[in-house]
């Protein structure tokens, strides 16, 4: 495959994956995942520090 064609294929795949990622993030925000992340992040994570 020529370099230009390879680059075009790569860009198309990347655009498709970026659209999917935008959809995933939107879905995650809409169903309240950000709150779950925030809640975990602002408290000491006992698992992370080795206390389980």
């Amino acid at each position: 495959m020529s370099d230009n064609r390879e680059l075009k294929t790569r860009i198309i795949i990347a655009i498709i994956l970026l659209v999917i990622s935008a959809g995933l993030m939107t879905a995650g925000v809409m169903r309240g995942e950000v709150f779950a992340v925030f809640t975990k992040a602002v408290h000491i994570c006992l698992e992370c520090i080795g206390l389980g």
Binding site: D3, N4, L7, R10, I11, I13, A14, L17, L18, I20, S21, A22, G23, L24, M25, T26, A27, G28, V29, R31, G32, E33, V34, A36, V37, F38, K40, A41, V42, H43, I44, C45, E47, C48, I49, G50, L51, G52
Partner: protein, 285 residues
């Protein structure tokens, strides 16, 4: 004055580390930052239980959401990591991962330097599948909550950035120390020794985030380009590569962190790194 690719990368790494861990004043008191930045994930590994941390750890967040009673998978974190990986691939590891910078600094400690035994690099995919995806979703308690297994049993970044500062400042936490902390401390010790001997040992062997970004190296827009008509097969790029790969044979290798050392080493400027097919080499920047 021209700035070499290596120095430019180091400046970006330090800036990213500083931004990710800007609440350094919290360390003496062992308090966590609780502001709105914690809604967002860090592009690289950085424990959110580190008192200095500004952002959430993407791997921790992925497990926290996946292990919650309400959700079994985190679309939010998955979408974030996917977007970054598609655009930058493992350049995220090479440029903005705070734990990546720590590992590179550890590797500067004088010692015999080793290359990684290639089959060990597949361990990180097992870690990703088992400890980050399957265990938090499938191994649950009576309330339907799954444990963040990677954070709990493996993550040396959590032990170093979160565990040690919090243990030093919280006697009530120190009183709870047990076998689990000993296991994690042992993994941290192995990681530190591994990083001194072998550049980015954790990235190569254990990092589940690196595994995701590595898989996306195959399609990432920021990439390594090799002009095979110009290449003289001198192998200087392979010899200098900190990730132990051959950029000419595998420019999209899942191990490549896009650090650009190969571009600087190439005597005929056959290797370039960038968003387009043929970006400027370091001599032209």
């Amino acid at each position: 004055m021209k700035i070499s690719q290596d120095i430019r990368r180091r400046i970006i790494q330090i800036a990213a580390f500083g931004f990710s861990n800007s609440y350094i004043g919290n360390i003496p008191g062992g308090r966590l930052y609780k502001g709105s930045w914690k809604n967002f994930c860090n592009p690289g590994i950085n424990c959110y239980s580190c008192p200095a941390a500004r952002l959430s750890c993407p791997i921790g967040a992925m497990q926290a959401v996946g292990g919650s009673a309400k959700f079994s998978v985190s679309f939010y974190v998955l979408g974030f990591v996917l977007a970054l990986g598609v655009v930058f691939g493992r350049a995220v590891c090479g440029f903005v991962c705070p734990f990546g910078l720590i590992q590179e600094l550890l590797h500067k400690i004088p010692s015999p330097k080793k290359r990684i035994y290639k089959p060990l690099t597949y361990i990180k995919y097992v870690v990703l599948a088992v400890f980050v995806i399957l265990m938090p979703a499938l191994v649950t308690d009576k309330f339907g909550l799954g444990a963040p297994a990677f954070c709990e049993y493996i993550c040396p970044a959590g032990t170093l950035e979160g565990g040690i500062p919090l243990m030093l400042t919280h006697p009530e936490l120190r009183a709870q120390l047990g076998a689990l902390f000993s296991l994690k401390a042992a993994i941290l010790a192995v990681t530190i020794i591994g990083c001194i001997l072998c550049c980015r040992f954790f990235c190569k062997v254990m990092c589940p985030l690196g595994a995701i970004y590595g898989l996306l190296n195959k399609v990432s827009l920021y990439r390594v380009h090799v002009d095979r008509k110009v290449c003289v097969s001198c192998s200087k790029c392979r010899d200098i590569c900190p990730m132990d790969i051959d950029p000419v044979a595998k420019p999209d290798s899942a191990e490549c962190i896009r650090c650009g050392r190969c571009t600087a080493a190439c005597p005929v400027k056959a290797i370039t790194v960038g968003f387009k097919g043929k970006e400027k080499g370091p001599s032209e920047i």
